[in-house]
């Protein structure tokens, strides 16, 4: 019995060390580097300065932050608003078709942002895709490319988020108790009213938490803004990568990432509190 205890403790310890070294230590290093001085020749110079954080409070980063938050909030709300009714509809299908949708959603969730971005780039380009189609059906006489633009970027973000939100909401939608809905429908309540009065309140907590998850996720998307957005649509993620790789200013990139980490942590905290309060 003692050896068994020792065995499980050993496995625990090794797993803990692996996760700590390769997940926690990098984050800690990032926080440390955010206080270093930038050095264009090397990666950084060891120091303890607040300069990198001070730079954040300049007008440029203020604009980028506001834009990132706005984009992520708008994207998250749109994704959830489109996904939720779709997931409810999927849960009404036969098991065979549900499996079809799950494979479709899992494929989309796993597919590279790069591929999805590229696909939309082609779909919205001038020579093929949507603009040409609109010209063909006579809606647009002089078609131009639809990307790069804010709208194109937003479509890309919503597309990325759709499969994730759908897969998070699906289990609950599939298992939900349908008796009240069905009773209301039998009594002649219009389906729209049933949706807003019965289904929506039952899902309120999960919808709030999935919206917050989406917000954090969209805050960190890199490929869509670079591929489908204009430089003036670029979010904080692009700027961080740009500072760290392009300008070789790791300390500034790290400081921006730490700020993003704090925002993420706050949102997750709110999410946990919101979920907790809703559950009696």
């Amino acid at each position: 019995m003692i050896s068994e205890r020792a065995g499980t403790t050993a496995i625990s310890t090794v797993t803990f060390i692996v996760l700590a070294v390769f997940f926690v230590v990098p984050l800690a290093l990032m926080i440390i580097v955010s206080f270093y001085k930038s050095d264009p020749m090397a990666f950084y110079e060891v120091a303890f300065v607040w300069d990198n954080y001070a730079k954040f409070f300049s007008s440029f980063y203020y604009t980028v932050s506001v834009r990132s938050l706005y984009t992520a909030v708008l994207g998250a709300v749109v994704v959830v608003a489109i996904t939720f009714p779709t997931v409810l509809a999927i849960s009404e299908l036969s098991r065979r078709w549900q499996l079809f949708w799950i494979i479709l959603l899992l494929s989309l969730m796993c597919l590279s942002e790069v591929i999805i971005g590229f696909a939309w780039l082609i779909l919205m380009s001038e020579s093929v895709g949507l603009p040409r189609f609109l010209e063909w059906i006579g809606l647009w006489t002089n078609p131009r490319s639809l990307s790069p633009s804010f709208g194109a970027m937003l479509i890309g973000l919503v597309y990325l988020g759709f499969s994730i939100v759908a897969l998070i909401l699906y289990p609950q939608a599939a298992r939900r108790d349908r008796s009240i809905e069905e009773a209301a429908l039998t009594l002649g309540t219009p389906p729209m009213l049933v949706f807003f009065k019965v289904v929506l309140p039952a899902f309120r907590t999960s919808l709030i938490s999935v919206t917050l998850t989406m917000f954090v996720y969209l805050l960190g998307v890199f490929v869509m803004p670079t591929m489908l957005g204009r430089p003036k649509d670029w979010t904080m993620t692009v700027i961080i990568s740009d500072k760290a790789l392009g300008d070789a200013n790791l300390p500034l990139g790290a400081a921006l990432a730490v700020i993003m980490l704090i925002v993420t942590a706050l949102v997750l905290l709110v999410s946990v509190l919101a979920t907790r309060r809703a559950e009696p």
Binding site: S12, T15, V18, L19, M30, A89, L99, V128, R175
Partner: protein, 264 residues
């Protein structure tokens, strides 16, 4: 009971989800060097280039190698964390499990930047091993959660029966537990492998300038001059991803693995 409105919604959403790939497929089998859709003439030349040009082949090989080893690392960590938590509900094993949920909650840019600083300090910046380990650790959350379902489905009786017959801890693990959680292991492995094959940002920030994986190559191609080979490479991805998931659906019950059936 599905209403007509819901049917229309599903059809519209399905069309929007699939449309980009129909167009990419059209471009990938087109003969012209500039993008055109629908293609004027059919040709397999872009697939031919993809599978004969050493540059593209090397990128495909690297991506698959990284994915296979990273998935192995991920599933091993997830199995260890779950097994210990299942054997003994100690605070420490709960902490290890919670730590494994962490990477999923953070925006990838933070993980990527942290990892690139870490590997620079460690001296492995720009090496494939660094990308493999980071992928393996950062994608642990999915197999962790999936395996937790597998362990939750294990019944005490089976284990107790095996122990009463005199099986040792290791024997119970090998002959009873492992076969029962095998579907969950396979699912976790496959999901990490496809996510790793498709991942761009972390791979790029750790070693993208040396170790060019398929997504990195596609991204660079789109940014600095376009060629229809990118379309055929994208379709290869779609092919791999969908095939793996279809095989998975045959081997395991995906719908209930995701927690959708009332029993689980």
């Amino acid at each position: 009971m599905i209403t007509r409105g819901q049917k229309t919604l599903l059809i519209c959403v399905a069309i929007l989800l699939v449309a980009p790939f129909v167009v990419v497929f059209g471009v990938s089998v087109g003969a012209s060097k500039t993008i055109s859709f629908p293609p004027d003439a059919l040709s397999a030349q872009w697939y031919n280039t993809l599978f004969t040009e050493p540059d593209w082949l090397a990128a495909i090989g690297r991506s698959l190698l990284i994915a296979a080893i990273a998935a192995l690392i991920s599933v091993t960590i997830a199995l260890a964390a779950n097994y210990v938590l299942w054997r003994r509900q100690s605070g420490f094993s709960k902490l290890v499990f919670a730590l494994g949920l962490g990477p999923f909650l953070l925006p990838p840019i933070i993980l990527a930047l942290g990892a690139s600083i870490f590997w620079a300090e460690f001296g492995w910046y720009g090496r494939m091993e660094a990308t493999i380990i980071s992928h393996g650790v950062f994608f642990v959350t999915l197999p962790l959660v999936i395996l937790a379902r597998g362990f939750a489905a294990l019944t005490e009786e089976v284990i107790e029966a095996a122990q009463m017959m005199g099986a040792t801890q290791a024997q119970v693990f090998r002959t009873v537990i492992l076969p029962l959680i095998a579907p969950y292991l396979i699912t976790g492995f496959a999901l990490v492998a496809i996510i790793s094959v498709n991942e761009y940002l972390i791979a790029n920030m750790i070693s993208g300038f040396v170790v060019e994986t398929l997504p990195i190559k596609i991204f660079n191609n789109v940014r600095y001059g376009y060629s229809p080979v990118v379309a055929s490479a994208s379709m290869l991805f779609v092919g791999i991803t969908v095939t793996v998931l279809l095989v998975l659906a045959r081997l395991t019950d995906l719908v209930s693995l995701l927690g959708a059936s009332k029993e689980s």
